[in-house]
Amino acid sequence: MTGSNQPAIPFTPIILVEGLAKNYEQVTALAGISFDVRRGELFGFLGPNGAGKTTTINILTGLARADAGSIVIDSQDCTHHPKAAQHLIGIVPDESNLYPELTGFDNLCFCAALYGIKKEERTKRARELLDVFGLTEAAGRIFAGYSKGMKRKLTIAAGLIHKPSILFLDEPTTGVDVASARQIRQLIQDLHGNGTTIFLTTHYIEEAERLCDRIAFIVGGRIVLVDSVAHLLQPLKKQHGLLMTVPGSDQQLADQVAEVFPGLQVRMAGRDQLHLEAKSPIPLAPLVSFLAQRSREVLEARGLRPSLEDVFVRVTGLQTDMMKKEKEKSGGGGL
């Protein structure tokens, strides 16, 4: 079962990437990455800023050239002919590239025309999408006057105007308010449910965990792991986790707990929070008693289910704080 409760995806790659490499002067953006995306799959591409997510999308969609490697999209060799599959794909870039001086409706109609859609059909399709995205009332307003969330939704609508079989979504919920982010996630799930193959890049780990069938972790231009969400979480299901809120706790206290309770892995998980892990259930009473002897009160203790965040930390060696800071910096979009 997948993160979005979809039936098992048949193993038919619609995107096949082998040894994709890209350098910008002295910087290695992609160091020979290989992966495949299966037909109808919601594939997550997860990594911190600068990991190579957007570069990968740009190369796959024809906005950038690879230095090495091969790309096959829906059986068409796009390595040297990036235009070959552009009619099959829809792209929602990380920043909107619609026309600020056109209305929402005109933007959609123009995007449809770029794919050779006739006037009657593109008008109908534009109206449908405006309705789906709740933008009907704003259809006649110029795009420049839209809010961030509305801009994001219209950009997604523009990516869908020609009914693509593959949709590239680059950070779709970054910088939008919580309500819009939730709506966008629901739309992504609906599209996935309708059989659209979705390539999603995000640095929101929870978002990827909730939406994706399979996930690739990319760090420093290298893919460190690709697997289904269920498989990624499997090893962690044998672990038991506990998060305790203990005012005044610090690394010294964490070390003391680890020393007194062998088999427990203890680390600070934030201000006043201890993160405990063990291979067997963690007894709470001795811990509370131990802390009470040191005049530390346990305000809260809750069991932790294994999350993709834990997998990310284990696999990449990176702390998720970096991702969280990026999330805070970009504003909104939380789950």
Partner: protein, 245 residues
């Protein structure tokens, strides 16, 4: 894939968004009128001299009208990333660039005929060879537009495009036979003059309006067509190399 739908809609959008805006319409009218007035006053001659200044005014109107617009329709769109939307669509790059330049070509052609309409009220145009004049105007519009495209895709900022345009436009005005006949220029400037597409365009216009061409028509047509092709191909190469990184 019906490319013509994409082509037509790109052209239509550019016309509505850029060319048919009041500032551009007024630019398209006022600029040729000002040039015509300025040349006429400068010449201090009778109304008959209108025919001698008409080719120059037409050429300059086309040159400024077309090269100025490309900085906006191409460089500005690239800067604000909406040009990426076009690059991501399944249209061949050459057709896309042709669609983006068609508006400027039409704008240039219309600009060229503003002084012609004015001249029609001032002098007798019955001697004008229209079958030569119309293709000449189209070729000059093509060459000027593709020169503007070459400039627009060679820079990143709109102001750079405007500055770079002047680097080409003003020397061209002085060297193309507009103020001074090419034959009376020093030999090294003549060489430079024959490297400029507008020289052949102005000569063709002189031929079409007054029968006073210095070069054979086929030679001028051939060379200006060569300039158009070369400028367009180099621009495509620049888009591919600079914008599809």
């Amino acid at each position: 894939m019906k490319y013509w739908i994409a082509f037509w809609n790109i052209l239509l959008k550019d016309m509505r968004t850029y060319y048919l805006k009041p500032p551009n319409i007024s630019w398209g009218l006022i600029f040729p009128i000002s040039w015509a007035g300025m040349f006429f006053i400068r010449s201090g001659s009778s109304l008959e001299s209108v025919l001698s200044i008409l080719p120059g005014v037409m050429a300059v109107s086309i040159l400024f009208g077309t090269t100025s617009m490309l900085a906006v329709t191409v460089t500005f769109e690239k800067k604000n990333r909406s040009f990426d939307r076009l690059l991501l669509s399944p249209i061949p790059l050459w057709l896309l660039m042709l669609a983006k330049t068609s508006g400027a070509i039409l704008f240039g052609i219309l600009n060229a005929f503003v002084p012609v309409v004015m001249a029609a009220f001032l002098t007798d145009l019955s001697a004008v060879d229209w079958s030569l004049l119309v293709p000449t105007v189209i070729l000059i519009a093509l060459a000027s537009t593709f020169l503007g495209l070459f400039i627009a895709v060679s820079v990143s900022e709109v102001f750079e495009a405007q500055t770079f345009s002047n680097f080409f436009r003003f020397p061209m005005i002085f060297l193309c036979g507009l103020f001074i006949p090419v034959a009376s220029l020093p030999i090294y400037l003549q060489t430079l003059s024959y490297l400029l597409p507008l020289t052949y365009g102005v000569d063709l216009l002189h031929g079409a309006i007054r029968g006073a061409n210095a070069l054979a028509f086929p030679l001028s047509f051939g060379l200006i067509s060569l300039f158009c092709t070369a400028l367009f191909l180099v621009s495509l190469r620049n888009v591919y190399r600079r914008w599809i990184l």
